[in-house]
């Protein structure tokens, strides 16, 4: 497992480094522009990671409840949430939040960005739990005397989480794009806001540096998703 994680992470690293080198040496702003963009990256990364953590932590239980307790209020809510993710992308959630609450803190921006992630995680967790139930290995484990709790934690839950973790890269890309809009709308200092301001001003160096760092952030989050997927599903480690 450790070698798989190393392989996945170091497979992404050259691309991230290449993007940083291109931003530093092939743009008019040069290393200075890259340094400016890098100064805001921790804030943007925290915003994206926070939104992903909140969205996944809240969405997965709703999805599982939609499968295991479909008639409960939480289960019904989990079923309803599926459509919201597609309807309210991150930038729209951020625009609605900033209109309702006014320019605010990163916590409000992260909460707005977490809404589509929550809905998507609920939809995928429910689908994963449905698929796991159809395959019958949980029933086989119960037939061999495994407790219901153990069967859920060690067999059903990992299988239900695989679809969610499998799209973590796509969610990270969508959330990063949403974070760019959220930073610009909420007035938060970060690489995303720098990208918007540079694009509006036609500053090629600032745009390239900010875009390269944001792309690197997405690639790293994608690698984390790949490692988690390999941890949950041994088949993902092959090939």
């Amino acid at each position: 497992m450790l070698s798989f994680a190393f392989r996945h992470f170091f497979g992404t690293l050259p691309a991230v480094l290449l993007l940083a080198v291109v931003a530093a040496y092939a743009t008019p702003a040069g290393p200075e522009g890259l340094a400016r963009a890098a100064a805001g990256l921790p804030r943007t990364a925290a915003l994206v990671a926070g939104a992903l953590a909140v969205g996944l932590a809240a969405g997965i239980p709703f999805g599982l409840l939609a499968h295991y307790r479909p008639r409960s209020p939480a289960g019904r809510l989990g079923r309803m949430l599926g459509g919201i993710g597609a309807a309210v992308p991150g930038f729209l959630a951020a625009a609605l939040a900033v209109t309702a609450l006014g320019p605010g803190s990163s916590v409000e921006a992260a909460a707005a960005l977490a809404v589509p992630i929550l809905a998507e995680a609920a939809r995928l967790a429910r689908r994963g739990a449905d698929a796991a139930a159809e395959q019958g290995f949980v029933l086989a484990a119960r037939g061999r005397g495994v407790s219901a709790r153990h069967a859920f934690l060690h067999h059903a839950l990992p299988a239900a989480l695989v679809p969610v973790v499998g799209v973590l890269g796509g969610l990270a890309a969508a959330t990063t794009a949403g974070a760019v809009a959220a930073e610009a709308l909420f007035g938060l200092p970060g690489t995303g806001r720098m990208l918007v301001e540079a694009a509006r001003a036609g500053d090629a160096g600032g745009t390239a540096a900010a875009a390269a760092l944001l792309a690197g952030l997405v690639l790293l989050l994608r690698a984390v998703g790949g490692i988690l997927c390999g941890h949950l599903d041994p088949r993902a480690r092959v090939g």
């Binding site: 990063t176 809009a181 036609g202 600032g206």
Partner: protein
């Protein structure tokens, strides 16, 4: 989900149609989409019912948003299809390189492409259109590559070869008709993706000033923002629901 068809005798398209009809979110999404499109067509008449305000502006902006998304998605789908087919059809090294490049590009946050192009090359409308189109191309290429690769591996393909059909006959009688349905399901997501990318860039002040995204970006209050936001959210939800229905309709070996 209850579907009534005989997989041995019904045609693949009839099976797909019944599967789609049995997918409730997809049928609801299609109905909602038709309401949005009809509302867009009837916008001039509807405008007379409201005084000049946010609702009228949102109705007017719907036309530009839908038309732009449709054109960008169509151009992106055509380019992506060509890329995917070439990746599957060309020799091993070139094909693999094309497929890998599509996969690499699809992994990036392509929704930011219009911003990057505006910063690097200026804010010309044509460049913006091309950036939105380009943002959907890699995703389409990856999906089409998978379909084209699988189409060559179907059992009916082997049966047609064993029956002595020429490559041309196999292509036009079996491969292309067999791949059309999955291709439709794979190309559909380009439409909501193009709409979302255009709306985000316009919201940030980098695209057209006459679309839902621009209205949301320039709205000063909830009252002025809501009509455009509701129309955009409803259209995106409807497009995604129809896409999910198409994916379900053409899932599995048959159709």
């Amino acid at each position: 989900m209850q579907t009534h068809f005989d997989t041995a005798t019904d045609s693949p398209w009839r099976i797909a149609r019944r599967r789609f009809a049995a997918h409730r979110p997809a049928t609801h999404g299609l109905a909602l989409l038709m309401v949005v499109v009809v509302g867009d067509i009837l916008a001039p008449q509807l405008e007379e019912l409201f005084t000049d305000g946010p609702v009228t502006q949102a109705l007017r902006a719907g036309h530009a948003t839908l038309a732009f998304a449709a054109v960008a998605a169509l151009a992106g789908a055509l380019t992506g299809t060509l890329w995917g087919v070439l990746a599957a059809g060309l020799g091993r090294q070139v094909g693999r390189a094309l497929a890998r490049a599509a996969g690499w590009l699809a992994a990036l946050p392509l929704a930011l492409l219009p911003l990057v192009v505006a910063g690097l090359a200026g804010r010309a409308p044509l460049l913006f259109d091309m950036a939105v189109t380009a943002s959907v191309v890699p995703g389409v290429a990856v999906a089409v590559h998978a379909i084209a690769r699988d189409a060559a591996r179907h059992e009916f393909q082997a049966a047609a070869e064993a029956a002595g059909l020429s490559r041309r006959a196999i292509l036009w009688r079996h491969t292309v008709p067999g791949a059309l349905g999955p291709l439709l399901a794979a190309l559909w997501p380009a439409l909501p993706r193009a709409m979302a990318v255009e709306s985000m860039a316009s919201l940030l002040g980098l695209g057209s000033s006459q679309t839902w995204g621009a209205l949301i970006g320039t709205a000063g209050s909830g009252f002025t923002l809501l009509p455009a936001a509701v129309l955009l959210a409803a259209t995106l939800a409807a497009l995604h629901a129809v896409g999910a229905g198409l994916a379900d309709a053409f899932a599995g070996d048959r159709p």
